[in-house]
């Protein structure tokens, strides 16, 4: 009827506006493929919009056909768009959303290869991150690039698995889930802060950003989940064995990934370089890599009794 006609025309217009904004973002950075049907959108919107008002104007006594309320709706929608733009602009100052988008540009193949690399890094030969005209390539195209998808999913899965483990021991309560979440988050934040502090003290000139460090620290959740699930399925021995394997794997993974970013050129290639500063950098890399198994054990040992 006329009522549904104007209503659908209005929502079609709003959808078209939303799709247009997302299209601008992805075309500008080429991080994500443009999978929205943007070509079909505008014409359908315009056609529907033209089809909307004429049948509405002919009846004349439903609420939405009143020209004043039409004006009010149009004004309200423009106000909402303005508010959203202003919020986006201000939010971008505090949380760099555009930089965060780079870390989530992953696909299934990358996630699969990265998970395999986290559990078995011994066969991988080339650990360098490839660059494309001074900017690092999106994680979708390079296995060695750090991402935030696996750490965030791993964190949430760790919480769920912790809840499951507590439930099998009849120790579960919903507050415990929140306690686990906040303590794991606090340990993560403290670890990133300590690594940042030590990087500042040793004056390493590296292009590792804070988010990169967050990503590297979040990779240990994968090993923790594997250990706890093995412990739940097969008992304590399986937990210790799989945790040992995952700890060794994460140790090797961190050393090989961080070596190229923290050490100087010569030392990274394996040549023996003397000097106190290079030694300090080596110790720092080993300390960061050794902290991962410690955290992995600390955060999971109370889950498998």
């Amino acid at each position: 009827m006329n009522y549904s006609g104007t209503h659908s025309g209005f929502t079609q217009q709003a959808n078209m506006r939303l799709r247009n904004s997302s299209m601008d973002d992805s075309d500008g950075s080429q991080l994500f493929e443009n999978t929205s049907g943007a070509e079909v959108g505008p014409q359908a919107g315009y056609r529907n919009q033209q089809g909307g008002p004429p049948p509405a104007g002919s009846s004349g006594h439903s609420l939405l056909t009143d020209p004043m309320s039409n004006l009010a709706m149009a004004y309200g929608s423009s106000l909402a768009t303005q508010g959203r733009e202003m919020m986006d602009k201000n939010l971008d100052r505090f949380i760099p959303i555009s930089k965060l988008k780079y870390y989530f540009a992953v696909d299934t193949l990358y996630v699969g290869k990265k998970l395999g690399l986290l559990v078995f890094p011994y066969m991988h030969k080339n650990w360098e991150v490839s660059y494309q005209q001074d900017t690092p390539v999106a994680p979708r195209f390079d296995v060695n690039a750090p991402d935030l998808y696996i750490p965030s999913m791993g964190f949430i899965t760790y919480l769920l698995v912790a809840g499951l483990a507590l439930g099998t021991q009849n120790r579960f309560s919903p507050e415990l889930l929140g306690v686990h979440a906040s303590s794991a988050l606090v340990w993560l934040v403290m670890e990133v802060l300590v690594v940042l502090l030590s990087l500042y003290l040793v004056t390493v000139n590296t292009d590792l950003t804070t988010i990169d460090l967050l990503a590297f620290s979040g990779y240990k959740y994968v090993g923790m989940i594997v250990g706890v699930v093995a412990g739940l399925l097969f008992g304590r021995t399986a937990y210790y064995l799989s945790l040992l394997w995952c700890c060794a794997a994460i140790f090797v993974f961190m050393i090989r990934s961080l070596r190229l970013k923290l050490l100087s050129e010569a030392a990274a290639e394996g040549r023996l370089v003397r000097g106190a500063r290079n030694q300090l950098r080596m110790y720092l890399t080993m300390a960061i890599a050794a902290a991962q198994p410690i955290f992995m054990y600390w955060l999971t040992y109370h889950l498998v009794r």
């Binding site: 306690v179 906040s182 303590s183 003290l201």
Partner: protein
């Protein structure tokens, strides 16, 4: 194990307070950690000790006023809510 975000904030405030109360001439100079020892070599390798001294001095300079505000807020909140 039951660390909360509140504990993290408490730790941060306490550590910053600890860094801010280190007195320059009564304590640090006696230890050989004064300002003049911090700006040692002019090469491109400041060294760990110089970085630490720099960090302590900058925390003292930058965080004095915010620490006053945060400490006052903590005192008021603790008195009100225990």
């Amino acid at each position: 194990m039951a660390l909360t975000l509140y504990a993290l904030i408490q730790t941060a405030v306490l550590c910053t307070n600890a860094l801010a109360v280190l007195h320059e001439e009564r304590f640090l100079s006696k230890l050989g950690w004064g300002v003049e020892q911090g700006v040692g070599g002019f090469g491109d390798d400041p060294g760990v000790k110089a970085q630490i001294l720099n960090l302590i001095r900058s925390v003292r300079t930058v965080m004095r006023v915010p620490l006053i505000i945060v400490n006052s807020a903590c005192i008021v909140l603790l008195m009100l809510f225990g």
